[in-house]
């Protein structure tokens, strides 16, 4: 491939770094249900109207010419190309892997996507298809998408995915526990899943924690769940499964981006963000990049720290990319349908 993406691949195959020690104040926060509740409810609130207005204003940025070309390539490199259907087959997954490694067959300069995201039983297929291309295998796990299963079942789900070669695990939090205020239970589950991500050689699959913001309903909850996941050691926080509406929105992702920014200020640890579901157009993707750029800063404009969970987005990015290069639209017949 024309582009190499060494950083992330290296990172995941290294030995597990111990969790960055939290400052004492935050460590105390996770010591009991009561302290955790106090901490999460002590976070500053989010004003819904203000947050949505800010996101809408960021959405009016005009990204043209060189900025657009930069943004499109970056967005392609951030895509977790996803298929999560009951009708998925090894053939479908292999096709998706081919697409991920070479999104535009006519242009070897086109970057590859960050990862392919599948159900656990198809991890082995994806692993084989992707080989050492540098495109990661991401697997949803923990009784995705509802998360309604016993903890040992969820952990077995994770271990299976990791054993079959998943580089990244996308877990769902227990929304029932979160909404009923049993925060420590949610935290302990994330910690347990993180441990289940360990491999025999001492390395660990990266953990993305899906908050399912569409079920959390308020931005205050989204901010609390973000901190909860980060305190538990998430490498990424992710908006949605894609199975619940609304999925990712610009303001909800912005609230999560604010959380990772504040978490780094407080702890020095950098956590990534992945909006997933409902991002279909290049224009939308560029709005997210602008938001990340202005809210958290350009440090997060990196596939190691920002991803798009999407399927149809990639083809729109490719069409726009070709249009930037040639000056005309090729149309949907000229991108591959996989």
């Amino acid at each position: 491939m024309a582009t190499s993406r060494p950083t992330y691949a290296d990172a995941v195959t290294q030995t597990v770094a111990p969790t960055t020690p939290l400052p004492a104040r935050l460590d105390d926060a996770t010591s009991s249900d009561a302290t955790l509740r106090r901490f999460l409810h002590g976070l500053p609130g989010v004003d819904q109207v203000g947050a949505e207005a800010r996101a809408a204003t960021l959405g009016t940025r005009s990204i043209k010419t060189t900025a657009k070309a930069f943004g499109l390539d970056l967005a392609i490199r951030m895509v977790d190309l996803t298929t999560l259907e009951g009708q998925d087959t090894p053939g479908k997954v292999r096709a998706l892997c081919a697409k991920a490694m070479r999104p535009d067959p006519l242009d070897p300069g086109c970057p590859e996507t960050a990862a392919v995201c599948v159900y656990p039983d198809l991890v082995a297929t994806a692993r084989q298809a992707l080989g050492d291309s540098g495109v990661h295998v991401a697997s949803v796990a923990t009784a995705f998408p509802s998360g309604r299963a016993a903890l040992d079942v969820k952990l077995a789900d994770v271990r299976h995915a990791v054993a079959d070669g998943a580089d990244e695990v996308d877990m769902v939090i227990d929304r029932g526990a979160f909404l009923s205020g049993r925060y420590l239970r949610v935290l302990e589950e994330v910690v347990a899943v993180r441990e289940a991500c360990a491999r025999p050689d001492g390395s660990r699959a990266h953990l993305k924690v899906i908050l399912e913001t569409g079920e959390l309903a308020t931005y205050d909850n989204v901010r609390r769940a973000s901190w909860l996941a980060m305190l538990a050691g998430a490498d990424f926080i992710k908006t949605s499964t894609g199975k619940v509406q609304p999925a990712a929105t610009l303001p909800v992702t912005m609230v999560m981006v604010e959380a990772v920014r504040d978490f780094r200020d407080a702890t020095g640890a950098t956590v990534g963000v992945k909006p997933a579901g409902g991002i279909r157009t290049s224009k939308d993707a560029l709005k997210y990049l602008v938001m990340v750029n202005e809210v958290a800063g350009p440090d997060w404009l990196d596939p190691d720290l920002f991803r798009f969970g999407a399927s149809s987005l990639l083809n729109d990015l490719l069409m726009q990319r070709t249009k930037m290069a040639t000056g005309r639209y090729t149309g949907p017949d000229y991108v591959t349908l996989d």
Binding site: P44, D265, D299
Partner: protein, 492 residues
């Protein structure tokens, strides 16, 4: 709060270093600039009687945009005479529902020509196209739509069974929102059956003259709207004209005082919308990211050229450090530059005079011992520019905490208790607006009850709506514009 007590000001590379937004300029081609403009009197563009003219420049480049006729007392006389004729013979006799049709038509033309108006406003005023496009012009159209709806319902407005227009209104408007202030003045006056002689500010006459063209396009009867361009002398002539029944002014407190003196002892009715030194009060339980956003919007919107700007930040001492760190980080992402670039957040200062005033007061602030901070930003070589600036360590005794700077300069003060916040917020000769940031509804209501300000925003700032009255206490003026209340200024 979530920040460690000693949170440093976060530093990071500017957006330009990684994701540089390419220039995205709005095209000037949509504007048909003429080299010279006359006065709009009795439905026609005419030269000034004295033949005098002045230049209006683009404050972002100092390029001369056009020569504009300078109206004299004689021109004002002709305009008032035309307005009187139109008022007695046509406009006051016309049924309200007919007047409404003209106002609706004007509102629709404002929408149809919105892009042209927005570009012209940004050229002449220096404000970012994002603001003229998304705020000024849409609001101007909304004002006409709103008051068009009142024109045939005046007897139900609560001002008597058969309210009558006042006659001829002399209106003098400022340069900070040229078209929007025009619509605040013209729409209610016309809806109530008055005719107007309007003097736009000398640095921003162009959108008013384009509005004159729109009046012709709408077939508005001649003389109903007259526009006499010029500077202070012209404004004085409008205010002092004996046949003017009503004076409406928006601008500085100093000029407002002169106007009040001029009209004292006459039959003229007056409304004045003057300066302000609004407090934006941030409590420790505020939604902090939105509060910071509101503080930025409160003072850097329209380069701080806003009479209701939140130019004093009152922040609870227990969260001051965190709020300031966030504020500075946010200010670092403000994009200052070409007003016609769609990604510009802060445009040019409107005039050399205003720039000199902002510089002077900022120097005073430093001399008085306040700490000055601006994000690093490169300002264009030509034109009038001032970076977004924040002063910390400001006390009530500092001039920058008392005087209206009318620029992108924020003074930060702290408070300990709600009572102290109210006391400091009210400790000003002005009283136009205020903002409160708190997640606690009962506290918001407690504070609102005690603030002496015409408009109080809770968990937002600088929101305008034609249905809502706007106006001040004390030296911020008297009378209300907007909403049902705004009709009162044009009826008897």
């Amino acid at each position: 709060m979530t920040q460690p007590e000693d949170a440093p000001v976060p530093t990071r590379p500017g957006p330009a270093e990684v994701f540089a937004y390419a220039p995205a300029p709005e095209s000037r081609a949509v504007v048909d600039l003429r080299s010279s403009y006359g006065l709009f009197v009795d439905g026609r563009f005419v030269d000034a009687v004295g033949g005098g003219s002045f230049k209006t420049v683009n404050p972002a480049t100092e390029e001369v945009l056009a020569e504009v006729a300078e109206g004299t007392a004689e021109d004002v006389d002709l305009a008032v005479a035309a307005a009187r004729r139109a008022q007695t013979r046509v406009w006051s006799r016309m049924p309200g529902r007919e007047r409404a049709k003209y106002l609706f038509r004007i509102a629709r033309i404002l929408q149809e020509r919105s892009r042209e108006l927005a570009v012209l406003e940004s050229l002449d005023n220096g404000k970012p196209i994002r603001e003229s496009r998304d705020v000024d012009v849409p609001l101007a159209a909304q004002w006409f739509f709103y008051y068009a709806g009142w024109a045939d319902k005046l007897e139900h407005a609560g001002f008597g069974a058969a309210p009558q227009p006042l006659g001829v209104a002399g209106q003098v408007i400022p340069w900070n929102f040229p078209l929007l202030m025009l619509s605040w003045k013209v729409a209610p006056a016309l809806a109530c059956g008055n005719t107007v002689v309007l003097k736009p500010a000398e640095t921003t006459p162009l959108t008013a003259l384009l509005f004159a063209e729109i009046c012709r396009q709408a077939d508005l009867p001649p003389g109903v709207v007259n526009i006499v361009t010029g500077a202070g002398e012209t404004g004085r002539a409008v205010v002092a004209h004996p046949d003017v029944d009503k004076v409406a002014f928006t601008g500085s407190t100093e000029v407002g005082r002169q106007i009040a003196r001029t009209v004292a002892g006459t039959r003229k009715r007056v409304t004045l919308e003057l300066g302000g030194k609004a407090a934006n009060i941030v409590f420790d339980d505020a939604p902090v990211d939105q509060a910071v956003e509101g503080v930025v919007n409160g003072i850097f919107f329209n380069q701080g050229h806003v009479c209701c700007a939140g130019s004093r930040l009152l922040v609870q001492e227990s969260v001051a450090e965190d709020v300031l760190a966030r504020l500075k980080r946010r200010m670092g992402t403000l994009r200052v530059g070409d007003p016609l670039d769609k990604n510009t957040d802060v445009g040019a200062i409107n005039s050399a005079t205003q720039l000199a005033r902002i510089r002077e007061l900022s120097e005073v602030g430093e001399a008085e011992g306040a700490e000055r901070w601006s994000p690093s930003c490169t300002l264009p070589a030509h034109g009038y520019w001032f970076p977004p600036t924040v002063f910390t360590g400001v006390s009530q005794a500092h001039r920058i905490a008392r005087e209206e700077i009318f620029g992108p300069v924020l003074s930060v003060l702290t408070f300990r208790t709600p009572a102290e916040a109210v006391e400091k917020a009210n400790n000003t000769p002005y009283g136009l607006s205020a903002g409160i940031w708190s997640d606690k509804g009962s506290r918001i209501l407690w504070v609102v009850d005690r603030l002496r300000a015409g408009v109080v925003w809770a968990n937002t700032f600088n929101q305008f709506d034609p249905t809502s009255p706007f106006g001040g206490y004390q030296e911020s003026g008297y009378g209300r514009e907007g909403g049902r209340h705004g009709l009162e200024a044009y009826l008897r």
